[in-house]
């Protein structure tokens, strides 16, 4: 087992706490995520067992756009929970802090944006191939290496740490949530594509695309920019009726993001398609001309 030295408290997330540490054996810097595993009368929950082993299995593929899991260690055993440390390769920064820096500076080159989105989509495609829905893609959960390689983090354990396990002080952001989640409908892999669409916009805009403060406010913010969906694309079996939707004046995404090129706009609209069954898949998005066109720097 790795001997680890905790250097300092790093960043605290909603469900766990991430530390920076050092592997005493080889001096490698690692990130440690502390998670609490609830233990009931029936032992370790089935979902935890399946997810942790999935996480380990996923790690064996060493996908370049998935943060590498190095080890899983156990910590303290309390009466009703087990503390567990998941050891990851340490990454330079997350996309959220990168965006902060860039918004204060000269923005992000479009070639760089293309590279980032391509990396995110490759990671998402890989997860989806393994039937994993990330469900919480957002800049804080996307990590960058020093050389700018993108890796997805914070997936897999999501189910286990659902709402009851949340530390109350931290608000979970809704800004990257797909309409089907906001409407409380069953959802699958397309929710991740929606999130990538939001992130694509944000990289050009340098601020989040849709900043709602509640489920319904989030939905309104989306519709006010994208417009009311077609009647046939509105779900039948929900309480919110199509006719009651008062969207008001609709903004234009093109005016909002003037520096977005034609192909980028096309891809973004395919990712921000309201009806999930019509939304582009990760595999198809990766084949979009946006990624093969002559790079234009804007």
């Amino acid at each position: 087992m790795m001997r680890l030295e905790l250097e300092y408290r790093y960043i605290s997330g909603a469900y766990g706490t991430v530390f920076k540490g050092k592997n005493k054996k080889n001096d490698a810097v690692v990130a440690l995520k502390r998670v609490r595993i609830p233990i009931t009368d029936d032992g370790v929950p089935l979902s935890t067992i399946r997810e942790v082993s999935l996480l380990k299995q996923i790690g064996t593929y060493r996908h370049p756009n998935i943060v590498q899991i190095l080890d899983v260690c156990h910590g303290k055993r309390l009466e009703k929970e087990l503390i567990m440390y998941i050891v990851f390769e340490h990454m330079e920064q997350d996309l959220s802090s990168y965006l902060d820096k860039c918004s204060r500076g000269a923005g992000i080159k479009s070639t760089e944006i293309r590279k980032i989105i391509h990396g995110i989509l490759s990671g998402v495609e890989f997860l989806h191939l393994h039937r994993i829905v990330h469900r919480d893609l957002k800049p804080q959960n996307i990590l960058l290496t020093e050389s700018g390689v993108v890796k997805l983090a914070d997936f897999g354990l999501a189910k286990t740490y659902d709402f009851d396990m949340k530390l109350t002080s931290v608000v979970v952001t809704l800004w990257y949530r797909a309409p089907e989640i906001l409407l409380g409908m069953p959802y699958a892999t397309p929710v991740d594509i929606w999130s990538v669409g939001c992130i694509l916009g944000e990289l050009y805009l340098l601020k989040p695309l849709f900043c709602g403060s509640s489920d319904s406010d989030q939905l309104m913010k989306i519709l006010r920019i994208l417009g009311r969906p077609k009647f046939e694309d509105w779900p039948q079996d929900i309480s919110l009726k199509y006719d009651s939707l008062d969207v008001g004046e609709v903004g234009d995404l093109r005016n909002l993001i003037p520096n977005l090129c034609e192909n980028g706009y096309d891809l973004m609209m395919k990712m921000l398609t309201f009806k999930y069954s019509k939304r582009i898949t990760a595999g198809d998005a990766l084949k979009h001309v946006y990624f093969s066109e002559e790079p234009l720097d804007t």
């Binding site: 089935l46 399946r50 082993s53 899983v72």
Partner: protein, 266 residues
């Protein structure tokens, strides 16, 4: 060294295979009432036996039982076996395997079946101190197993490869010839029985699947059309490219050895 080089050795092997078939049949004929308390660990054979007996009584899925056996063997590979009660570990791997395979087995049923299998003829365990102690012990052991295995509890089984290979072979042979001999059933029985031996951990699941099918083919003397089994090309080379002939024989031997480890009925 190739076993195929010597005809004498080859026919000896065949005799072994036929003996093994006899053993397999015999095993199914008499329901053995092993007294587990009198048996020793036997390299993991005994707790594996216990897993399959309890697991079948619990009507667990075959893959759940296979998972439990593999987890048990992996656990004992990491620890000093004499420090643990191998039946407690066996019962706990069954419980854990049910969760891993999404085929949950009730802890209460596991406790009852394990208790009755260890203490034959006794009635169900009363809900009392003994029950609660056992329940607590299983929950603790489950966590211990998870830790010792470093949370790596999902397994790639030979079964799915075997199924795929058998399907193709059925196509080559044609339905009539395929149905003439119970190849699939026999191969599956060999595979299940091989889970009694920790050496199953040493081989790729694809290779284990091939070796069990080979044994079944040989038992019934089935030859595959268009495939000359010669020194250069093995029948299975369409399925796996990286299985050397002597390795193939080695696995087959290991499978056969399982039948020599069968404990005497008391």
């Amino acid at each position: 060294m190739s076993y195929y080089g010597s005809a004498g050795k080859y026919s000896n092997k065949m005799k072994d295979v036929i003996d093994v078939m006899e053993l397999q049949r015999e095993k199914n004929r008499k329901i053995q009432q092993l007294d587990y308390r009198k048996l020793d660990f036997a390299g993991g054979f005994t707790p594996a036996r216990f897993i399959f007996e309890c697991g079948m009584k619990l009507q667990g899925q075959p893959l759940t039982l296979a998972t439990a056996a593999i987890l048990m063997h992996r656990f004992f590979k990491e620890v000093d076996q004499s420090n643990y009660d191998c039946y407690l570990i066996a019962a706990s791997t069954l419980y854990l395997a049910g969760k891993v395979k999404d085929d949950p087995l009730k802890i209460r049923d596991i406790i009852n079946v394990a208790h009755n299998t260890l203490h034959r003829g006794n009635g169900p365990l009363e809900i009392g101190d003994e029950y609660w102690n056992m329940r607590d012990a299983i929950v603790q052991a489950e966590l211990l197993i998870m830790r010792v295995l470093k949370f790596e509890v999902s397994i790639t089984h030979p079964h799915k490869f075997m199924l795929h290979y058998l399907k193709s072979m059925e196509g080559w042979l044609g339905r009539d010839q395929w149905n003439a001999a119970p190849i699939a059933r026999t191969a599956a029985a060999f595979l299940q029985d091989f889970h009694h031996d920790p050496s199953i951990l040493d081989y790729a699941p694809q290779h284990v699947a091939i070796a069990c099918i080979s044994l079944a083919l040989q038992c019934y003397g089935v030859r595959l059309p268009l495939i000359e089994d010669n020194d250069d090309e093995a029948w299975y080379s369409v399925f796996v490219k990286d299985l050397q002939k002597d390795r193939h024989w080695e696995i087959m031997e290991k499978v056969m050895e399982v039948y020599n480890k069968e404990p005497e009925t008391s």
